[in-house]
């Protein structure tokens, strides 16, 4: 084990894949964004620059190019930068990548990973703050991973890069600088296995991506006043570990979901629906959802701040349902 940043772990997974498979190619630039961690991508550029293509601003064709290459036997990693920009490639992701394997009767596989940074980023306003994970999860044939820790990003990325399915890899720029223990030898983390970040008896909090950090902080603060929260990070949304979520809710009898994105038809809605389907009889209190309020993201700092489903709002919601 070595302590590393999320950014380093992400790049290591890409370098391992590049070393293992000389067909592997990457399309995109600024894989680690333009912030303080950007430099961690340098080793990848130095060692494998020849396999990295800097594309024009053409998200739709860039997605298609990756998909077509993957269909032809070239495992691909396509980096889009801000998730908002992938809204120019939705048709390619859903109606090409997502359906090709099934529609071909299994003849075609699409080994490709699409990477994007979602969420509120300070000053992103109405066009650069998208958290499209819930929209994408409404479609078949696309895996969706949202790792939160350095250990998870490296292990899950290795799993999907070595797999044969189109995968959306959505994370938040704020995670890049976070540190954690990372095993030194290569390892895979299977999809569909939630991480119980904290065990608790009173309430289950399910959050994804950056919101997991908020949920964990909220849980610590709630513990201080005697509320024992269980925090679950599904890590992958497709496939989703509904078993772990449902059994936790059955155990605690209470559920609060947290989405950085909008609430209507969200991952939080899905998880609340799972509770209503499979744990209704065990619910001791109304389910609570914490999400982005239903307004385009305003630029003004205090307004953007008010859009965040951070620790305060999670604590408030837990208190409310605890009665």
């Amino acid at each position: 084990m070595t302590t590393k940043t999320y950014a380093e772990a992400l790049i290591e997974a890409l370098m391992e894949k590049a070393a293992d498979d000389d067909r592997f190619a990457i399309i995109g630039r600024g894989i680690l964004g333009h912030g303080a961690q950007a430099h961690f991508a340098q080793p990848l550029m130095d060692a494998y620059g020849a396999r990295i293509t800097d594309p024009p601003t053409s998200e739709g064709a860039v997605a298609s190019m990756g998909i077509g290459a993957a269909m032809s036997g070239t495992p691909m990693f396509v980096h889009f930068g801000t998730a908002s920009f992938t809204l120019e490639a939705v048709n390619q992701l859903i109606h090409e990548a997502g359906v090709a394997h099934s529609m071909s009767g299994g003849q075609i596989t699409v080994p490709i990973v699409f990477h994007m940074y979602h969420g509120l980023r300070r000053g992103g306003a109405g066009q650069h703050s998208s958290s499209p994970q819930s929209m994408y999860a409404n479609n078949p044939g696309l895996q969706l991973i949202m790792p939160t820790t350095p250990r998870d990003v490296k292990g899950m990325l290795r799993t999907v890069l070595n797999g044969n399915n189109p995968t959306l890899f959505i994370d938040h720029g704020a995670l890049l600088g976070t540190e954690g223990e990372v095993p030194d030898a290569p390892y895979e983390i299977p999809l569909g296995v939630a991480d119980i970040r904290r065990e608790g008896a009173d309430v289950t909090i399910v959050a994804t991506s950056r919101a997991v950090l908020w949920a964990a902080e909220a849980a610590e603060r709630l513990a201080a006043d005697g509320i024992d929260a269980e925090v679950i990070d599904p890590r992958s949304v497709v496939p989703l570990d509904s078993e772990a979520i449902v059994s936790s809710v059955r155990k605690t009898g209470r559920l609060v979901t947290v989405d950085e994105g909008y609430q209507m038809c969200s991952i939080g809605s899905e998880i609340a629906a799972l509770a209503a389907e499979r744990a209704a009889d065990a619910l001791k209190a109304p389910v609570g959802r914490v999400a982005r309020p239903p307004a385009p993201v305003p630029f003004s700092p205090p307004l953007e701040e008010a859009m965040m489903p951070g620790p305060e709002r999670i604590i408030e919601t837990v208190r409310k349902i605890m009665g």
């Binding site: 390619q92 529609m103 071909s104």
Partner: protein, 334 residues
């Protein structure tokens, strides 16, 4: 399955054209007999382009086509029985019944995909070209599409990518635009080629009804691409078949009668002009008989042989059961 025609083998190209035509006529009959088969975009009238281009390709080349795909699927050598079965949604279909007419593919013959999203095949083929180049292969990627596809931004973006990355991609544009008839290109350009031309893609325009001319142009284009000179835009101009965009299955020009190749006075009916002046299949039969490559008897024998194969193929498809609904969720992920 039959192998696709070899370059320069005009008899094989003709035979392939007959196969493409008779296949589509059978699809029409299938659509008449099985209402659910629904809307078809038949490749009738495009055979000279299709067979000739396929004759210029080699094993390993990867093909991406559109909603007007049937002709290329069989021309590349896919089994007609399994193709019919797919169009009928049967278990033994090329795609196990999951794709249907708009998504036929047969990886074993290089027919990598049919995308029915206008512009879809262009982006995917550029990706195939990217993948082949990455792997250092000598194979090329081909995207077949229609003139209307040039209106779609993804098509522009993909051609631009192929040009700046100098990818081994043949952009095969079958131009069946007809003044005032929709759908067809609404490109503001004087000529379709002006768009790829502006992107510095080498362009070749040819009469898509003339198999010899297309074969020559396609051979030149493919050689150029294989040599690493970057993508080529090959535009073949066609006169749209009157049944090109049909909502109910019908034979506006009647079932093809190859004897009309030498008995022109018998060409009659509402669409006689199309049959006389624009049917590339009839024209090629006429040419091959005229230049002595084939006798009339040989032409009709080829036709009979194709028809026999296709009736067996149809029988195979009809005999194939539907997939089990219990299999609904199988094969979503690899």
């Amino acid at each position: 399955m039959t192998a696709p025609p070899a370059a320069g083998d005009r008899t094989a190209i003709f035979t392939c054209m007959v196969l493409m035509r008779r296949f589509e006529e059978e699809v029409l009959r299938i659509a008449q007999d099985h209402p659910y088969v629904g809307r078809q975009h038949l490749h009738i009238g495009h055979e000279a382009t299709g067979a000739a281009v396929v004759s210029a390709l080699s094993p390993g080349d990867l093909f991406h086509t559109t909603h007007r795909n049937h002709g290329y699927v069989v021309a590349l050598g896919a089994d007609p029985g399994r193709a019919f079965a797919e169009i009928m949604g049967r278990r033994d279909g090329l795609n196990k019944g999951r794709g249907g007419p708009w998504h036929l593919c047969d990886r074993s013959v290089g027919m990598q995909s049919t995308s029915a999203m206008v512009g879809g095949s262009v982006g995917l083929a550029v990706g195939a070209g990217f993948g082949l180049k990455q792997q250092g292969a000598t194979a090329i990627a081909v995207t077949h599409f229609g003139d209307g596809t040039l209106d779609e931004g993804i098509c522009f973006e993909a051609m631009n990518l192929a040009s700046i990355l100098s990818l081994p991609v043949l952009f095969l544009c079958e131009n069946n635009a007809k003044e005032g008839q929709r759908p067809s290109s609404m490109l503001a350009a004087k000529a379709l080629r002006d768009l790829p031309g502006a992107l510095q893609i080498h362009c070749i325009v040819v009469d898509g009804r003339d198999a010899d001319a297309v074969a020559e142009a396609a051979t030149e284009a493919v050689a150029r691409i294989r040599d690493g000179a970057g993508p080529v835009f090959l535009q073949t101009n066609l006169e749209r078949w009157p049944g090109s965009h049909q909502t109910k299955p019908e034979f506006p020009t009647g079932v093809t009668d190859l004897t009309l190749a030498w008995e022109e006075e018998r060409i009659t009916g509402a669409h006689a002009d199309w049959v006389r002046d624009h049917d590339g299949l009839r024209a090629f039969a006429k040419t091959l008989v005229a230049d002595g490559t084939l006798s009339r008897e040989q032409v009709l024998a080829i036709d009979r042989e194709v028809l026999d194969r296709l009736s067996d193929a149809r029988a195979f498809a009809e005999a194939s059961p539907y997939p089990e609904p219990s299999a609904l969720l199988d094969g979503v992920f690899a």
